[in-house]
Symmetry: C2
Subunit: 408 residues, 2 copies
């Protein structure tokens, strides 16, 4: 029997999906499980999209251009212009989700053995795409005590070697919810320019910026136009993760010409998803206003609720719909499994994502979890209450142990 | 400005799309261009699919399981059972077209530097996926004079080295239309077993077998259950190329577990496409009977028409909807460009795919073209007539030159 590949062996398993069998077992016992572990929003897809998809009149579901519908790319150019970003339809390739944009972008820009610097914690699947392309992810650790701000420039510079070819950021961040300031983006620009690196910017949460904060796109940075590769997606923006439609965008002509060769090999991005994506361009502004208002309420419930629990630290994110929390536990991995396997409070429990999978370094994420606030406000309140009780009951709780030790 | 990757530089450009600017120029001049160059069928998608898609009632277009809808995979297992192929839902991963099945399959089974043997001419994008995975495609040349039958076993054996890890076939073949016999499949089985290789079988044209011929799937071969990786797609079967839904199928548990890790990194296959694919499982048999009857008529018109032209050789294919033809020209590439750039007959011309892009070897494809018979019968007849006139007028026509020489 032939063996599988080395890359295949090295591919990381999804850090989130490992707990799924335990969640299934809890459900089978009749326990309500609050899913705070995944980024699948419960928000409705915009009406304009649902309407369009309910009235399709296709006779043949045909391939599109490998770069995607020209009309859709032109529509996207206008969408970006609304953010002050000047790009043309030729600077874009429609991809099968942000995932394919990352994979094709990495294959286009980096050689096996190259290194890319990524502030951690980062979106766990960056590891998967880097492994598939033979790249080495070099982490620079951001700290929970300053809300996961961009690590100081010296921390990046220490990690630049002769194999370093790029920096990859997610802004606003998954899993941190951190929104980079203009000054932080300019720090990145200077570093990218000085070291002739690619800057990959995953901006799929662009619309999710709160408290009046402004999003500073990497595409707005002057002087590194040929260095920036933008990864985008309709998944979160319009709550249509299943459409599998994203975009790879760069003003670097060689990057786009090369990416198109990868695009041609796989023929075209999904036709239905593109129709949905193009329809979504007409989403009224009030959709985002409403969605943002809802997420702000949820975020506030979550962050305030968590920080009220003794020993829990949860910085307030300015964007996306995730928060990272430090829990007073021996191991977040064990705690998350225990929540599903051995705990329930009023027949309810919580599913969280242990943060270790979002770090390349061993250690800093061991007591952290990522929480996606994708549940409605009441469910979120119950989930927090549940978590509070769990932290009291968990045998490996540092808080409970400390209290027990103080009492004994 | 940072450079693009080596793999990116090595990625082949689509051999078909190179001619697109010439076709656009011909259209701009008002010339009718018969597109015999692409595999986009004009056949209507089954009514059951169009009906389903016209009555969607989704509120949130959500991710699916990374391996695809369980219900769809169970439905597919029944579909395969109809061909005597026994597989379970766990032996399958739904992919974004056959393209992603190939890419993930190759990444799962092969290491960069590995060699895979592929009978040529082959589907040009195999080159693209192999390049993206760092694999070397080692061709074994099939011959037009026996209709592109499987080359003799000795031809394969001569090419097996210590880096050979697999054989990749397309059955029925794109671009040849050749359908492997049971004996040929057994030859492949023995070779695969003796050398402990993976056998990748691209069977996306399974439904397109003519004249009562039977399809012998690689999944039916005994004794190499852990070696076979099946690549499948709904694109051609149901004339829904744009759905971008395919499948990677293997009974090898390590292959499927590893493939799923690649699948998890990209989250899920397209949701709309899966809904369409699942609906398509209910396509009535008469759809295929009608489609096959139509393609047989087209094939006969094409093959008979071409073979009537002096100097043209076109074997009669038993499957798929392509034919390879040898033309009496100095260079098929030049001829195809000339057809679009400099020729028209009654204001019409023909777009063909030069076959060189379907060969890894230099030489054997230089006078060949691939013709997709995806036009209705009248258009096909006009296209053949056009081609006949073109071969008389083409300055590099060997036939015309021979006649001219004989006359002088």
């Amino acid at each position: 029997m032939p063996n599988i590949s080395e890359i295949g062996r090295n591919m990381p398993a999804s850090p989130i999906r490992k707990l799924v069998p335990y969640a299934e077992a809890a459900l089978a016992k009749g326990t309500t499980v609050y899913h705070l572990n995944i980024g699948q929003p419960d928000i409705q897809t915009p009406e304009v999209v649902l309407e369009k998809m309910a009235h399709l009149n296709l006779k043949v579901i045909a391939y599109s251009h490998s770069a995607g519908f020209a009309s859709y790319r032109e529509g996207l150019a206008k969408y970006y212009a609304g953010f002050g970003i000047s790009v043309t339809a030729d600077d874009m390739m429609i991809t099968t989700g942000g995932s394919e944009a990352l994979l094709i972008g990495m294959n286009t820009c980096f050689n096996p053995g190259d290194e890319i610097i990524v502030p951690e914690p980062f979106y766990a699947n960056y590891n998967g795409f880097a492994t598939a392309c033979g790249l080495k992810v070099v982490p620079v650790t951001a700290r929970i005590d300053n809300g996961f701000a961009l690590p100081p420039i010296e921390a990046f510079e220490k990690r630049i070697t002769d194999r370093t070819r790029g920096i990859l950021i997610c802004n606003p961040g998954n899993p941190t919810g951190y929104l980079y300031s203009k000054a932080e983006m300019e720090t990145l620009r200077d570093m990218v320019k000085a070291n002739d690196l690619f800057l990959f910017a995953d901006e799929v949460y662009r619309e999710f910026c709160y408290d009046g904060a402004t999003h500073h796109s990497a595409m707005l940075l002057k002087g590194i136009e040929n260095h920036v590769v933008l990864v985008d997606s309709v998944s979160k923006r319009y709550s249509m993760c299943g459409a599998r439609v994203g975009a790879l965008i760069s003003r670097n002509k060689a990057v786009m010409a090369t990416a198109l060769k990868f695009g041609q090999a796989r023929l075209s991005p999904p036709t239905f998803g593109q129709i949905a994506g193009e329809a979504a361009l007409a989403t009224p502004d009030r959709y985002f206003t409403e969605v943002q208002a809802e997420y702000v309420k949820r975020r506030n419930i979550l962050v305030e609720g968590l920080n009220r629990i003794e020993g829990v630290i949860c910085p307030k994110p300015s964007g996306a719909f995730y928060a990272m929390a430090q829990l007073p536990v021996d191991s977040a991995e064990k705690f998350c499994q225990w929540l599903l396997e051995s705990f329930s409070w009023e027949n309810q429990t919580v599913m969280l994502a242990p943060a270790a999978g979002f770090y390349a370094s061993q250690g800093p994420g061991n007591q952290q979890v990522r929480i996606a606030y994708v549940l409605h406000q009441d469910a979120l309140k119950k989930a927090i209450r549940c978590l509070e009780e769990a932290l009291k009951a968990y045998p490996g709780s540092l808080q409970a142990n400390a209290v027990a030790r103080a009492r004994s």
